[in-house]
């Protein structure tokens, strides 16, 4: 009963906030709706017993990715007319992606209807309460899928280095701080105490 209520609440909020993400005019509001959608997605995952994935969703997407989105979007000054022109240009491509996603949903629903009810229940919520999520995922990732997992890590590393290389540019004449030299500097190196006699002043 409580689970059903929670499911429909989370699911409804995900759909509504996803719709508001693409329809709201203020980009910052869009990001906020996106965050709400992430949150309720995490709630859905907790409901099916995938608490590890739910927490990772919040930590990675809400805690890091969306912060950077917000960071960028806050500083933009978006012209509505330009966005309108962009919509006309990318309409066909967007339609293609939407069709692909819709086809996936249809295939999934068809597959779900085609199976028996017991199998369906297992597929929807494959919970084994004896094994905590983290252990179960670790067991699979570090044994059966170890090479794919390591390869994924390597791809991410290459992507990270690539991003840094692409955005890094040498600026001529930049003066860098030498932290160890700054730390090693003592007051005696920079100042001196003098006792000038009256009327003489300080020698520089």
């Amino acid at each position: 009963m409580i689970q059903a209520i929670a499911f429909y609440l989370f699911a409804a909020v995900v759909v509504i906030s996803a719709a508001l993400t693409i329809s709201s005019r203020n980009p910052v509001h869009s990001v906020m709706w996106l965050i709400l959608a992430f949150f309720n997605g995490a709630g859905l995952m907790v409901l099916v017993g995938a608490e590890f994935i739910a927490m990772l969703l919040v930590i990675v997407y809400v805690g890091a990715v969306a912060v950077l989105f917000l960071f960028v979007v806050m500083m933009l000054d978006i012209e509505v007319a330009e966005v309108r022109a962009g919509v006309a240009r990318y309409f066909g491509f967007g339609l293609l992606i939407a069709a692909a996603l819709f086809a996936e949903i249809v295939f999934y629903a068809y597959g779900a209807v085609g199976t028996g009810s017991l199998q369906l229940a297992q597929r929807v919520a494959p919970i084994n309460n004896a094994v905590p999520n983290i252990n179960a995922i670790g067991q699979l990732l570090y044994t059966r899928y170890i090479f794919i997992f390591e390869a994924a890590g390597l791809v991410l590393l290459v992507a990270m280095i690539g991003a840094i290389v692409l955005t890094h540019r040498e600026r001529g004449g930049t003066r860098y701080q030498n932290i160890s030299r700054q730390n090693a500097r003592r007051p005696e190196d920079a100042t001196r105490n003098t006792q000038p006699t009256v009327g003489q002043g300080v020698q520089l």
Binding site: F52, N133, N135
Partner: protein, 367 residues
């Protein structure tokens, strides 16, 4: 508590669970608010003592009621919303800060079994919830539509995301050593260092990480010496500049609730939580939550001490400390701890048979 409502009061299980959870939330949140009020007083008194002043001493005996007087004054003020502000987000921002400071307390164990939600991914929940704290500040800065709050929001975004990374690695070292993400099990795993001391902090391998965690916690909560988000000499009051009345008070409460939370986390992860620091039967007479409270108070004293004595960091120094010192150090520490644990638990006898799923589900035992 669910059992009490279920059997003694005679409610159906669903309602008993519901009422017990609500009661648990109130049982944590109300004393927490009182603790925040008193800890603000304690902070001002410690700060004053270190500056050879008297601190608040007028309202009530020894000035004990000063925070309540401040709260009442703030409550009676007018809520001012700047005309150019983004109204909805402007009002939402302090609510986010305050809520996020409260929700983490759901997984903090106060004594054996006394925890609102004893979940397997407790520490990940802490990370997830504390990574939300930055939104309150970014949104308040942006929605105020004012220059200084906006600068403050940008600083806060960069600062909190940076230190989140090293906090994550420090937590991973503790998780590796304890073999669990559950905070109650992490506390239990800290028993009996050298047969007599309780706490990972007494482990020479984990002690440096406790220091890194404490410093990162100061940066995460925006406390001095890392309070660049509200640096009064540069940014007026930072993201709080445009706020008044209760919306300001929510920031204030949220900030101190966060500080208490970070002190409690330090106590839970490194100094044995509800366990007495010395593992002798006589110390177990004192209830567990008193020990936790004492450790939290000590942590808070360190926070206040640092605030009173250390000058504010420059922004580039802050970033350098986060990315070039703490990140490599904590990353190296994760590798080192994994290696040490591998050596201690598996040994050097070559590969062992892959453990079955059933064996993996058993709680990890520290060797």
């Amino acid at each position: 508590m669910t059992n009490f409502f279920n059997t003694t009061v005679g409610l159906p299980y669903g309602w008993a669970w519901f009422i017990a959870t609500i009661a648990g939330i109130l049982l944590i949140a109300l004393p927490l608010m009182l603790a925040v009020a008193m800890i603000i007083y304690a902070d001002r008194k410690i700060w004053a003592a270190m500056a050879l002043r008297r601190g608040p001493n007028v309202v009530g005996p020894f000035g004990l009621l000063q925070s309540f007087a401040d709260g009442l004054k703030v409550f009676l003020q007018e809520t001012i919303i700047p005309s150019a502000a983004n109204r909805g987000l402007f009002l939402l921002a302090p609510i986010i800060t305050f809520t996020v400071a409260l929700i983490v307390w759901a997984v903090i164990p106060f004594s054996p079994g006394a925890v609102l939600a004893d979940i397997n991914v407790g520490l990940l929940y802490v990370l997830a919830a504390s990574s939300l704290g930055v939104y309150g500040i970014i949104l308040s800065g942006w929605a105020s539509n004012s220059k200084y709050p906006f600068y403050s929001a940008l600083r806060a975004a960069a600062q909190m995301v940076s230190y989140e990374v090293s906090v994550g690695f420090v937590l991973i070292t503790v998780v590796l050593w304890s073999g669990s993400f559950n905070l109650s099990q992490i506390v239990e795993s800290q028993r009996g260092y050298y047969g007599i001391l309780n706490g990972h902090g007494f482990n020479p391998l984990l002690f440096p990480m406790s220091i890194v965690f404490l410093i990162s916690a100061m940066a995460e909560t925006g406390r001095a010496p890392f309070d660049l988000t509200e640096a009064e000499s540069e940014l007026v009051a930072g993201y709080q500049t445009e706020y008044s009345s209760m919306s300001f008070a929510l920031f204030w409460l949220g900030e101190y609730a966060n500080v208490i939370l970070m002190c409690t986390l330090t106590a839970t992860l490194f100094w044995g939580g509800w366990l007495p620091p010395v593992d002798l039967p006589i110390f177990y007479i004192v209830p567990g939550f008193i020990w936790l409270f004492l450790k939290m108070l000590f942590g808070f004293f360190v926070f206040s001490w640092v605030k009173a004595t250390v000058p504010r960091y420059r922004y580039d120094q802050l970033m350098r400390l986060g990315w070039k010192v703490f990140l490599p150090l904590s990353l190296f520490w994760v590798f080192m701890i994994s290696g040490v644990l591998m050596f201690m638990r598996v040994g050097t006898g070559g590969p062992v048979a892959a453990p079955t799923v059933a064996a993996a589900s058993a709680p990890a035992v520290r060797s």
